[in-house]
Symmetry: C2
Subunit: 425 residues, 2 copies
């Protein structure tokens, strides 16, 4: 009895884990400890390499889910707070942190799942699936600090200057119902059932304090955040983001992703800023374009993913190369305009995912594209600069930005702390 | 350079496949031949077990994607024909068959993907992902035979009596925009990128002849169709469908799934009928119910999945057992009312998937549930009988059927034929 994703051999039972480790034992983990180490003492099956690789430490200087090797699946959601009591917000983030700590270790939410006379603490659909590399990354939106002119929680003075409201960019058709939110949660895992379980249980915990605003499922990653990962293809059939900031590039992480010791405000130190954009691709128009048009639009070859004028994907991008006096990589090619050298050095760590949300009833085309997710030290010198530079991007003919959000991502936490503590405690 | 889903070791390059085998060689496959055999002669990498297991034969007596071990991911779509010319329908099904033959073998659609001055035949996003157990299963809806009173293709007399319009069932809130269609395509694979690529390329091929009507992504299978698969959990956290018809149960397949030699019409012999139902789960209500309520509603224990009164998942369901005079499995429990013994022997082969489609804007709850897919020899004695029996199901309090479709699934085809040939040729 072994299915592909349900192999008993590759995954210890949740029951075995809880019996051996106990719910309380989780509290004893020190920052950075891989809960899998604990697990491997519990059952022989836990020594399995696949399992060890499937657990990402929740605690640390930074939140997980940023430089973590990009998992294959995403469920992103934002929430709006329905309380005016700052204490409620603190309690919510404390409970969310507790739940995320357990879920990322492959344990069910809460400890009361056997009392017949009460609703189970955990909804149960991820039982037996293991941690599946789950990361749960929390962020706060500008509306947490002031909404409709009201400073609900006495936080207005603590809003980071870097947490900007995005300007309107060329070609934006952003839907407010797919944008913003007081709180944001990015759940990434190698199993979409595990992503769903995470968001659903956080929504349950939020009952009475916050409600879901919007969500976006991503069915396949389009970015690599680790040099060992192969660059995936987006729905245009291209490898994009070959020059993404990766975990191994510590200099770039320090200069472009993590908030530093000298940056304001202090509560954001070791945090980051997340920009999400739901980018609808006009696939029918794209698919009618010639291969030459597609390649000139992106600035890479389609099959190999090599910069135009080069042969292999990781060959250097030569923006100065000319052929018969014309630039080999056109002046409006996507990789030229997105290049750091063209945007005053702006670099982003991207974690994008392909999405599809049924059929556009007006065009009868698939409503599909890229859910762009990027982390940066400061959106003003990160996404905003890059996106303004893309105003003349040839790619704009084939895409529309239909959803948007910017969130401050607080630093990571410890086994006794909670995410957001530096802001709220 | 090896990612989890993009390992170069586990998958031969598409280029290598095409060079060695040639597009024309595919036409030489005999029914039932595993294209992987062809592939294994082409490159040493193709001998890899993971790859061989990842390819499902397209040709055969029956279409693939019915008794095929249920893959983890689904993209289902229906199409409406925009032509009144029967010849166009034949050409579409011929082209779709050719494309499905290639895609299920891990090859790109068409052979012209390098001409700079033409749009590539294949959209490219699945390049390098391998076959990923892709199956593409085609069906035809009642509207193919007559739509708005018009017999567009001279097929009205060939409509099977078994291809019924479903009656309205208790609690239905079916949305016409998520129902029916002239043609239906079920793409299942172990990689959602591969499912998306299949539907998107079939939609491209249909341009000018048919348009997409609706689609549904399923992110995780909730059924097993093979005795070697472990029963997965649905979004209620329960194992359902433990008593599903599986591939090994040849008697049940003959009596309940495949259209037989004595059944009318002859063109459906070795075919089947597919019923799809988009079943929204009212998860917030479910999650507020006690464990006892949940278990009595389903008729199984939540953790073990055992029938009430038994200990293990695969223990026999004893519908006659009583405790203090009351039935152990309540009279309105889901597994009682869905049991073949309670529905005049009706059995279905189920291939369901969990879905989530964002947030319901009215309730702020996740729009999520089960995309129910069932195959049967005759819906009148299959799904309709079971569903009518479920009118008093305790589960109805927690679910709403929001989309629906019934499709005739023609028999399989040969390397020189096309799916639908028995109806249209």
């Amino acid at each position: 009895m072994s299915g592909r994703e349900h192999s008993a051999r590759a995954r210890p039972s949740r029951r075995g884990f809880l019996t051996a480790a106990g719910a309380g034992a989780l509290g004893a983990l020190t920052a950075g400890t891989v809960a899998g180490d604990l697990l491997s003492g519990a059952t022989p099956a836990a020594a399995d390499d696949a399992l060890a690789g499937a657990q990402v430490p929740f605690h640390g200087l930074h939140q997980a889910g940023i430089v973590t090797p990009a998992q294959d699946r995403l469920l992103f959601a934002t929430f709006d707070l329905t309380t005016n009591d700052r204490g409620d917000v603190v309690r919510l983030l404390q409970e969310w942190t507790r739940a995320a700590r357990r879920m990322t270790a492959g344990a069910p939410v809460g400890s009361d799942n056997a009392d017949l006379d009460a609703p189970p603490d955990d909804t149960g659909e991820a039982a037996g699936l293991g941690p599946a590399s789950l990361t749960v990354t929390f962020g706060v939106g500008g509306s947490l600090f002031r909404k409709d002119g009201v400073d609900r929680y006495g936080l207005a003075a603590r809003r980071p200057a870097a947490l900007v409201d995005l300007p309107e960019f060329a070609g934006d058709v952003v839907d407010p119902a797919r944008s913003d939110g007081d709180l944001a949660v990015q759940a990434c895992a190698d199993d979409p059932n595990v992503c769903f379980h995470a968001i659903r249980n956080l929504a349950r915990i939020a009952r009475g304090t916050a409600v879901l605003r919007w969500s976006q499922m991503g069915f396949g990653r389009t970015s690599s955040t680790d040099a060992t990962q192969e660059t995936p293809r987006n729905l245009m059939g291209f490898k994009d983001g070959t020059n993404n900031v990766v975990a191994e590039d510590t200099d770039a992480l320090r200069s472009s992703v993590w908030v530093g010791a000298a940056d304001d405000p202090a509560w954001m130190r070791d945090g980051s800023y997340m920009v999400v954009r739901r980018i609808r691709m006009l696939l029918e128009v794209w698919d009618r374009s010639t291969l030459a048009d597609q390649q000139l639009t992106i600035g890479r070859t389609k099959t190999a993913g090599a910069p135009l004028g080069a042969r292999r994907e990781h060959d250097a991008v030569d923006l100065d190369a000319t052929s018969d006096g014309d630039p080999v990589i056109p002046v409006d090619a996507h990789i030229r305009l997105a290049a750091p050298s063209e945007a005053e050095g702006a670099r982003l760590l991207r974690r994008g995912y392909s999405f599809t949300d049924g059929i556009d009833p007006v065009t009868n085309q698939l409503d599909a594209g890229l859910f762009f997710v990027a982390f940066q030290r400061d959106p003003r010198t990160g996404f905003v600069r890059v996106q303004q530079n893309l105003a003349t991007d040839a790619l704009n003919e084939y895409i529309r930005h239909t959803g948007s959000g910017v969130f401050a991502i607080p630093p990571g936490t410890t086994p006794t702390g909670f995410v957001g503590e530096t802001l709220l405690a």
